[in-house]
């Protein structure tokens, strides 16, 4: 019933219906992976901002001095220059968050977060692949 509002090939998804859905862990103002909601919740200046795994491209970390840096890259239009665009967008003319970077003295925890995000992405890709195979 909502297909009329969707862009070409873009499937509707959302992390939470309302603020009551946020897990208690967000209170700590730390990055949290909510597997059940298929989302990564980022603390941004005091806000708890969820990002559905479908919006995330990948996550990586690097060590510099006493700190570990975590970078999350998001799906945005125009990243696949010269390639066939295979990720549809609801509104390609909107402003997109392309990436965010965090730093922490706790490299072990950031390492663990990268693993969790990568695993969540793998699971989402796998489900998407299975759906495609079913449709064929």
């Amino acid at each position: 019933s909502t297909s009329g509002k969707e862009g070409k090939g873009w499937k509707k998804y959302q992390s939470y219906k309302g603020e009551g859905g946020l897990p208690d862990e967000v209170e700590r103002l730390r990055i949290f992976v909510d597997r059940k909601a298929q989302s990564v919740i980022l603390p941004i200046h005091g806000f708890a901002v969820p990002f559905h795994i479908n919006t995330i491209k990948n996550a990586s970390k690097s060590d510099e001095g006493d700190f570990t840096y975590l970078r999350i890259n998001f799906q945005t239009p125009g990243q696949l220059a010269g390639k066939k665009e295979d990720t549809p967008f609801e509104d390609p003319d909107a402003t997109f968050i392309r990436s965010v970077s965090y730093r922490s003295p706790d490299g072990h925890r950031f390492d663990n977060l990268v693993k969790q995000i990568t695993e969540l992405k793998k699971e989402a890709n796998k489900r998407e692949q299975q759906k495609k195979e079913m449709a064929d």
Binding site: R30, I44, T55, T76, T95, I97, R103
Partner: protein, 185 residues
């Protein structure tokens, strides 16, 4: 008569404190540091209520165009706060809707000293532009904002993970620059 709320944070501080409201104004006092923030009744101009990470945030606009943020209020405390603000200062507590859809696309809206990112007309987050240490336009459609090391600054210790950079993809940024909307609050 003074009404007190416990376990309230001032700004992004990790320290909990007590928040008090009386006809003379509002005040916050840190439990550990004993630091005090006071807001005189005559300077209180507006108040907003929005869901943030540490439950609900009460933000108070002052006559010198600054604002103070207090986190940690519970959903159930909304009506009590609204009534106190009405009775003591004659102002209406305005609710701002927050976004939880999990989308990374929306609208960047300049509101005074803040950059708000809106998803489906709701606030996903706000960034104070005075904390931006460096901004950079990389290519025609990419804007990056780098944040100062707040943890080591006069702003004191921050709770939680520290965001150091955010990059936006702004299609057609060069051709459709929007007027800033400083009067939106």
């Amino acid at each position: 008569m003074t009404t007190q709320f416990d376990k309230i944070y001032h700004g992004l501080s990790p320290e909990v404190g007590k928040f008090r409201v009386a006809s003379s104004g509002m005040g916050w006092k840190g439990i550990d540091s004993g630091n005090v923030v006071t807001l005189e009744a005559s300077k209180v101009k507006w108040a907003q209520w929005i869901r943030v990470a540490r439950n609900f945030q009460l933000r108070i606009g002052l006559s010198d165009h600054t604002k103070e943020r207090f986190d940690g209020f519970l959903r159930e405390e909304h009506d009590k706060i609204a009534q106190l603000l009405k009775n003591h200062f004659g102002i209406t507590l305005e609710t701002q809707e927050a976004a939880f859809k999990g989308w990374n696309w929306g609208v960047a809206d300049f509101r005074g000293q803040d950059l708000a990112f809106l998803v489906s007309d709701r606030t996903a987050f706000e960034l104070p532009l005075d904390n931006v240490a460096n901004s950079n336009i990389a290519g025609r459609t990419e804007v990056s904002l780098e944040f100062a090391n707040l943890a080591g600054s006069s702003k004191g210790k921050l709770a939680g993970d520290e965001m150091v950079e955010i990059r936006f993809h702004v299609p057609g940024a060069a051709s459709k620059a929007k007027d800033s909307d400083a009067g939106s609050q």
